[in-house]
Symmetry: C2
């Protein structure tokens, strides 16, 4: 089909929507390393994991062999409310850049959570409901994941208890109110409701809280409340599985019009979006059916894939969660204030980390002022105001398109536009006012953070 017949937006028909999630691990020769129990250093079984996660999700977490998991009918119904997400041909951006490259983006922001997070939130809430649980707990920083989970729980009639970092709760009240609209209970963390919260407040009475503390509170409440479990929005294998819907839809839309991307680009924090977007394409590559370049884009202020170590580390600052082998800056690493809140994570999905270690995934990092400049350029060309997280991918895609202008190559670029920036206007304001700065950690700083990695030799394995 000729190029100019490609519409601005490709929407799959409802009947063309994927009916199963794709588990990339099934096609990986080198499987991601398993989660370990931090107390014993031993491999965590699905049974052990099901104390924290509900049983079906614990099974998904450890399953390396099943390639496709059918999506339950109830989740498909929920997906139909906000999916299929469009695959957009960025005609206006191409014209503005004067590039011969063809740019496509998979846009996941057309839902109230404002991002792709909803894809896994509904799955996790569904399995909790199906198991007869009555509620779930989670933590949230800026509030994207908490919002997504609130929406899913409202739909299923499940209690949703969100621990929100206190400084965000107070200074960014908007996503908090969105969560309340969906009936979630939102507690500023640290709180007096938990033992860990009370302990922290006693020690640091005026603290604004941290993600690490909020995780600890959410886990404590989940394990102490009958009928409750804890859920997490990124990093985990189960999340990558649910997010494969992004890539499956993108690939179906491209196949429909005979489009084959040369390079696929996504922003990377914990890896939930990137892992989902690349899954079916990477599967083809692993099976030797096709070849693509894959590029992860991370903030220069939190460069786990580009400057971290590939090692076992704690997933949380509180060191209560399982150990995961991943690219990490150390669970003590405190990323500098960076407005892409969703990318401020010290580690990276074990699946993506393994692909990176095997040379299948490239990684670059970009400073945030350049990211916001790209975001603004994109908004003026394509209309949509992007999230700071997504704008990391925009920046890399634009750079690739500019290189094509110089070389004359007509590459086809696909990137993930994970969400909208409507709740990030403070950051845009800083950028407009010239008050945004870049922070790039020194080698010493990173070495120091990495010196806190757990000593694996202490375990008698």
């Amino acid at each position: 089909m000729a190029n100019k017949e490609i519409p601005y937006k490709i929407y799959l028909e409802e009947s063309e929507m994927p009916k199963a999630w794709y588990n990339l691990r099934a096609d990986m020769k080198n499987k991601p390393a398993p989660l370990l129990n931090p107390a014993t250093g031993k491999l965590m079984s699905a049974e052990e994991l099901s104390d924290v996660f509900c049983a079906e999700l614990a099974k998904q977490e450890v399953d390396e062999d099943t390639a496709y998991f059918p999506i339950p009918e109830e989740i498909l119904s929920f997906y139909k409310m906000y999916r299929p997400a469009p695959l957009v041909r960025a005609y206006c951006l191409e014209e503005k850049l004067k590039t011969p490259a063809k740019i496509y983006y998979k846009f996941e922001g057309n839902n109230t959570s404002g991002s792709h997070k909803l894809n896994s939130a509904i799955a996790q809430a569904y399995y909790a409901k199906k198991q007869g649980l009555t509620g779930v707990t989670t933590e949230t920083g800026a509030g994207q994941w908490g919002t997504a989970l609130s929406m899913a729980c409202a739909y299923l009639g499940l209690d949703c208890k969100v621990y929100m970092v206190k400084v965000s709760y107070e200074q960014k009240p908007f996503r908090r109110e969105v969560m309340r609209t969906y009936g979630a209970s939102v507690t500023p963390s640290p709180s007096m409701e938990t033992e860990v919260g009370r302990r922290i407040l006693e020690k640091h009475p005026g603290t604004g809280g941290s993600l690490g503390c909020a995780i600890s509170e959410a886990v404590e409440v989940a394990t102490n409340t009958p009928g409750y479990r804890y859920v997490l929005g990124s990093v985990l294998n189960q999340v990558m599985l649910h997010q494969s819907i992004i890539g499956l839809e993108a690939k179906a839309a491209m196949d429909k019009y005979g489009i084959k991307p040369d390079v696929i680009i996504g922003c990377a924090g914990g890896g939930s979006n990137l892992g989902g977007l690349i899954a079916p394409f990477m599967g083809e590559k692993l099976r030797g059916e096709a070849d693509y370049r894959f590029i992860a884009v991370e903030p220069a202020s939190c460069p786990s894939l580009t400057r971290g170590a590939f090692a076992y580390d704690y997933c949380d600052t509180g060191m209560v969660c399982p150990l995961a082998k991943m690219y990490t800056l150390g669970s003590n690493y405190i990323p500098a204030p960076n407005h892409a809140g969703g990318l401020r994570y010290h580690g990276m999905s074990p699946i993506l980390s393994q692909l990176r270690a095997d040379g299948l995934l490239e990684a670059i990092s970009v400073p945030q002022t350049e990211v916001f400049a790209a975001a603004e350029y994109f908004a003026r060309a394509e209309g949509t105001l992007p999230a700071p997280e997504s704008s990391h991918a925009i920046k890399a895609a634009m750079d690739e398109a500019i290189r094509c202008r110089e070389t004359g190559e007509e590459k086809t670029i696909l990137f993930g536009l994970t969400g909208t920036g409507y709740f990030d206007m403070y950051a845009y304001e800083k950028f407009h006012d010239g008050k945004m700065t870049d922070y790039i950690p020194s080698d010493e700083e990173i070495q120091k953070a990495l010196s806190y990695l757990p000593d694996m030799s202490k375990y008698d394995l």
Copy 2:
């Protein structure tokens, strides 16, 4: 086609998108009364209007005969970036309400302006650009219209100067920053930049401004700056024309699946959304080809259609714009603080006013606490967090569906979901905290406001 084959969301193909706007006036037996010059009381010609509006728009403003205006290719291209807007079958809302009614909504919120305003913003900016103008001015309250215009101007490379009511500029900085992202210059009004602004500041040094004052500043700058014109986001006939794209798309989507609505519901402030949504359906009714019920829903705090007078009045508080015959509460009427900022207008589109006077359009008013309760109910069922303005239509549609549950009627309801409420979280917070109140003006208050209507007998006509 059987009902259950109807997807959750109907997206037209790009090739099925309307290629012309529909001018409802061509099918009206009683035409809306013409605009009058406030100085002379005489009919304003297109030539006179083109001192304020660009020439092509002035022509559209006065044309009562042409039924279809082809949409220029450049505007069609822009529409393709964010349109077609989906027609959504509210399966989940129906189930939650246990109603036999079939509920559809046309969703106009999937773009960064957050509402339907973009449909006319791009048209007005396009004709300004085509005429060789270099910039446009406008006023904005909460910022929806200003945002839409900024996006359109960024796309076309046109200067955009927005006068934003100072209290909104300071207390609601988010839409201001969205506008700045699109390169608009945003000035808090009253400002020292204009004569009228300086005069007001001298008299009321600490004032937070008003929409009336912002209009006056925008008009002053437009008429004093070579190559500039003033643009307006509602009320005008030209705006109803551009917004007909809403109804044309909705009707095409319904026709495709053999759906015929029994009742069509929209919120009404200045009338831009309602006028656009009902246009092609009302056309069929006027031509005797089909019958529908049409319901306008307005806030109880600003009830122009339900409690106002049908008379000539000023369109603006500053009394500089033409006189229009419309349902009005008087240009001096100051609506009580109501969070649906887009519905706080003292008058109503002359086209809709005439339809109302002719008994073709029903009108009801609803108090805002009930509107927010409906908004929250809708969000939990359908996912999308609605704008307070749109939620007036949700409230009326839900009431209609509940009546169907009682009578067993399987009515088909279509309503307009004009936008999202992401920038309205302060209002939602008030609602959640039980601090939202209702205000219903007394008869005396309305009579007093109406006593300021212009005395038309002073004109020697």
